[in-house]
Assembly symmetry: C2
Homo-oligomer: 319 residues x 2
């Protein structure tokens, strides 16, 4: 399979590349093109090419979609915090670039499996306490609005047979290694990662705030799985809410305390940020993901395990 990843220099994009190149990958990769605004670091693997591409550039699609491309993982996006500050940039990258990609796929690579990472941030407003794949999408943030517009477009292109799209809505990913990003949920990694690294971390929301989380390992598995399931298994609505776990910020800090002690837990400091608080409060925190599990998507178990995996796999690497 010839595979392309956009956003490949990002945290999820680079994990996804590693997983696809691993011996036990569910997809047999002949060629892997890694694309990001800043050229991804070179890989010591003859299958890999890295490219610097600005998605906002109209010629970007020509570099990304080749007729012999089998799977595109389109992860690149302007994240929720930045999209809320700059509507135009968000529309250009999150919507226009995705549309240009799917339109180019239609013309040039109609059998392409187009895996699109949407977000549970498409949900907002007057939500039921537990959402599912048929909960109405009434976003209260621009990032979620733009992603939801792409879902509709990609689903319609799939329905018409123009591209084989598969759309997964990602829970908040925690614990991301590395540094803070411009997602409004960035703190959901920071409040664990920074204390484990001996640093203070600012939490912009209260301890009662509940989050819908997935571990990096599970979400990367699930993004790959989206490319491998038979298209007709998805039915006429190709959008799936990925499994996640519901935890409160207070629960997360208690799990941190249990694993790393009072000293670590005391490094979390609370400093309210109204924009973040409002946006995060509008996201769902519980989801009936039975459709996802029936399609074979994986599920995390306990947040404390996610902390332990982070310590085992990432703590030294990110120090």
């Amino acid at each position: 399979m010839n595979v392309v990843i956009t956003g490949a220099a990002g945290f999820l994009g680079s994990r996804l590349a590693n997983a696809l190149l691993a011996h036990n990958s569910k997809i047999s990769v002949a060629r892997l093109v890694l694309i990001d605004l800043i050229q991804p670091s070179p890989y010591n693997d003859p299958r890999v090419t890295t490219l610097s591409v600005n998605l906002a550039d109209p010629s970007a699609v020509d570099l990304i979609i080749q007729p012999d491309c089998h799977i595109l993982f389109h992860l690149a996006a302007v994240l929720s915090g930045q999209a809320e500050v700059d509507l135009d940039l968000g529309l250009r990258v999150n919507f226009d670039a995705t549309r240009a990609l799917v339109e180019t796929a239609r013309r040039r690579a109609p059998n392409l499996r187009f895996v699109y990472t949407s977000t549970i941030g498409v949900f907002g407003g007057n939500l039921p306490s537990v959402i599912n794949d048929l909960t109405a999408v009434t976003p209260e943030n621009s990032y979620g609005s733009q992603k939801a517009m792409c879902e509709l477009l990609l689903n319609d292109y799939a329905r018409r047979g123009f591209v084989d799209s598969r759309i997964v809505r990602l829970p908040t990913v925690s614990i991301r290694a590395g540094t803070a990003n411009r997602a409004v949920t960035s703190f959901a990694s920071g409040i664990i990662r920074e204390p484990l690294n001996g640093k203070f971390s600012i939490c912009p929301v209260g301890t009662a705030q509940k989050l819908y989380l997935t571990s990096p390992h599970t979400v990367v598995q699930n993004i790959i799985h989206a490319a491998t399931i038979p298209a007709n298994a998805l039915g006429s609505w190709r959008v799936v809410n990925l499994p996640g776990i519901c935890v409160s910020v207070g629960d997360m800090i208690e799990a941190l305390r249990e694993v790393a002690g009072d000293q670590a837990a005391s490094l979390v400091q609370f400093e309210q940020d109204e924009m973040i608080e409002r946006m995060v409060a509008s996201f769902p925190s519980q989801c009936d993901y039975s459709r996802a599990t029936s399609l074979g998507f994986a599920v995390d178990k306990h947040f404390i395990d996610i902390i332990r995996y982070y310590i085992r796999d990432d703590l030294n690497a990110s120090n």
Copy 2:
């Protein structure tokens, strides 16, 4: 108030213009600009200007949105049948032109009340037997997909304070006077209108097919009402399913028979059209419109009354 209507030469657009210019109009109109692809017929009213504008033309927005414009009724669209045949045209007119309008409003007339006529065709797929304003939007037609994308965009612009948008999802309008149009639901008018005019009419779906209908009079009242309700009454989701009545094609023909006799009813001939049948079957036929009525939108009573109003108001005019 300075008011603009796009799609003003169409059936609803011209009724809307007439209603706004009437003595008893709920909106006091100082100036009314009527815009369509083909210049609307001149009005014998000094308040009215008519313009021929192609929405697909990038300069269209400059003609439509003036800084002193108070209300825009954006009705112009490529209809469902045509949007299904020509995806690109549908995207250009139904999505791109609407986006250009809202973006121009943001820059030039941020207090504009932007009334957008969406459709119950945004719904499709695995629907509950009775939908409501919080039923998930999973369209199975390109027209509905494009309208749903506009809903998200307009709602986000409103949330950010860039435009005062109000979005109403129209039921199938029946009985439209005049001739068939390119909506897949055009037959829902034709099977009554043509027999009342002594003509044969082709019905492309079976008698059991249920439809969600509104009369022209009620829907025009409701489109105007959308411009007059306080913005905050809509809350954070500015999309409302307009009230309609649920009737089967068989019920409609029986009502025709009751009003106009067996001879009229026998003029309806059945000739299956798979595309129309599939799309119409994907639309909802019943809706809990309690949010709409609590916002003051009007409701039709019986389909037989709609036939009688058509005979009283339109039959001679359309002969």
